[in-house]
């Protein structure tokens, strides 16, 4: 898995490439914690290159959502492929997330 953190604008975007399983999810968690510590209040997860999300990955998503919601921030998912979308939906947690087809649409929505 490879993480790319983009903090060039006011919105922080983390792109995840590859699979998000129990081995790689802690890296994402650390990365998000760093962003939040740096003052990020709006976070976009770019999942367009993510081919798999495990329960650990979902756990990181849900924890981040909980933290940002509590502090009045925003956390959105963008660019999910069919498989990842299906995992999120069938695990029943789909309704919790704001999900956008592309990162640009997510940026546009959060900026507005």
């Amino acid at each position: 898995m490879q993480l790319t953190v983009d903090t060039s604008s006011q919105l922080t975007c983390i792109a995840i490439e590859g699979g998000l399983d129990s081995a790689t999810a802690p890296h994402l968690e650390t990365s998000i914690e760093t962003c939040l510590a740096d003052g990020a209040t709006a976070l976009i997860l770019d999942l367009s290159a993510t081919d798999y999300v495990s329960s650990m990955g979902l756990r990181v998503f849900l924890s981040t959502l909980k933290t940002l919601k509590a502090s009045g921030g925003r956390f959105v998912l963008a660019g999910l492929n069919g498989e990842v979308q299906e995992i999120i939906d069938l695990a029943g947690v789909g309704p919790l997330f704001d999900i956008y087809p592309t990162v640009d649409q997510a940026r546009h929505s959060l900026a507005g």
């Binding site: 979902l58 995992i87 069938l90 695990a91 029943g92 789909g94 919790l96």
Partner: protein, 451 residues
């Protein structure tokens, strides 16, 4: 004229009426015959009404579907052929001549005995009820034997009375007992009393045969009595044992299982659990193995019956409620009904999530050390469990235990893949249903509990 169904409410009610008419005929007509229809004017209207009912019954019989060897005959010609070959002639002879004679102010003669043939009709109807399973067989047989005993006793009593009335010599039983001035109902009562004491092999001896005819009749009676009694006792015992036959069979089976388990050194506690589980299953199914019955049926009939049998269970599963009827049938073909006794591992930990359980009755709980609210850990009717490990294709972190007897449908990976392949709407349906477990699954995922 439309065709009536043999099992329709109307036809069954009509058949009950016909049986009542036959029974009254069988009980009253022999008494009337003895009196040479002395009081026939009083009953003439009724005999005519009965004959009309009998004739209407003949018309109805030509217009009623007949079931034969699992096939329902709806073709009028086939129905008529079958009726003409069977009960038509006795029905006609029992009703038509009497109907015609009723206009002749009840002339006595052999024609007046013909309505007794209605008893054949009663026999035929009750036998059909047995074929069509309209009543429990032991109950129906009990009724039939009761009626037969009543009719035979009445018939013999009339015969004994006829012998007495026909013999005017001082040796005849009526003369000997100085009953010649007694009114007819009292004479009938004496005759019935003698018949029952003889048939029941009591034989008090206050009324005894003396003339040759009386002795012959008494010999026949005693032989008949012995046979009748043996037959009646045998049948009553058999019927009573059949009434509770299922329970008896279950108890014998339980006893054999217990003996087998004891011989193989199984602990008493486990034996008790096996016994309780079997009792629970028996109470639900009455000793019938639904899977075996369903397995013998063609697919279409099987799914229809399954939907009916599992109606109550299905109403507890959101997945079924949201599905269309064809999809419901497909789901039932793929889902496996399962039962778990209390305190049993329903889904093992460390195992790959290859199964989802849709709970229809009872409750299960995730057995975990994590501090989670009770409503997250407990699943009841309408909930499903095992979904996270199943959809994420991961191993379960904790086991799921039954807290009571649990009824559920089990969906395994193979069936899930089949349903996804054959029914494109299935996944969409699952998505809708999954949204109902959002709060629970969120809590479980954050706590790292995957089941």
């Amino acid at each position: 004229m439309r065709l009536f169904r043999e099992t329709s409410r109307f036809k069954i009610s009509w058949d009950i009426l016909i049986c009542a008419v036959a029974l009254i005929t069988g009980l009253v007509l022999p008494v009337e015959l003895l009196q040479g229809f002395a009081y026939s004017n009083r009953l003439a209207v009724w005999w005519t009404v009965f004959s009309v009912i009998g004739l209407v019954d003949i018309i109805l019989s030509f217009n009623t579907t007949v079931e034969h060897q699992g096939v329902v005959l709806r073709d009028r010609r086939a129905i008529a052929r079958r009726y003409l070959r069977g009960m038509f002639w006795p029905d006609l002879i029992a009703n038509l001549p009497f109907f015609l004679a009723s206009g002749l102010a009840m002339q006595t003669g052999w024609v007046t005995a013909l309505p007794l043939l209605r008893l054949l009709r009663m026999l035929h109807i009750t036998s059909r009820w047995e074929d069509l399973q309209l009543l429990q067989i032991p109950v129906l047989r009990m009724i039939r034997y009761g009626l037969a005993l009543m009719l035979i006793t009445n018939g013999i009593a009339c015969l004994w009375l006829w012998v007495g009335l026909a013999d005017s010599s001082p040796l005849g039983w009526i003369q000997r007992l100085q009953l010649s001035r007694t009114n007819f109902p009292d004479l009938y009562l004496h005759s019935l009393y003698w018949t029952i004491t003889t048939l029941a092999t009591v034989g008090y001896g206050d009324i005894t045969p003396k003339t040759s005819l009386e002795i012959i009749l008494a010999i026949v009676m005693m032989m008949t009595g012995a046979i009748l009694l043996a037959f009646a006792v045998g049948n009553v015992v058999s019927i009573i044992s059949q009434l509770d036959g299922g329970r008896l069979e279950h108890r014998n089976r339980q006893s054999a299982i217990t003996r087998y388990l004891q011989l193989n050194g199984v602990e008493r506690q486990t034996i008790d659990r096996v016994r309780r589980f079997n009792d629970y299953q028996w109470a639900r199914t009455g000793g019938i193995n639904p899977r075996q019955i369903l397995a013998d049926l063609p697919a279409e009939l099987r799914s229809e019956v399954t939907i009916r049998i599992l109606q109550e269970s299905i109403s507890n599963v959101p997945l079924f409620l949201a599905a269309s009827t064809p999809l419901q049938k497909r789901l039932l073909a793929e889902l496996l009904p399962v039962t778990f006794p209390p305190c049993t591992v329903v889904l093992e930990d460390e195992a790959m999530g290859e199964q989802i359980l849709f709970i229809t009755a009872g409750s299960v709980a995730i057995n975990t050390n994590q501090d989670l609210p009770s409503d997250v850990l407990h699943y009841g009717p309408g909930d499903y469990v095992g979904d996270l490990a199943f959809f994420l294709r991961e191993r379960r972190t904790d086991p799921v235990l039954s807290q009571s007897y649990v009824e559920a449908f089990l969906l395994n990976r193979h069936s899930f893949d089949e349903l996804c392949r054959l029914e494109p709407r299935f996944k969409e349906l699952l998505r809708q249903v999954a949204a109902k477990q959002t709060a629970r699954n969120q809590a479980l995922l954050i706590a790292g509990v995957i089941v």
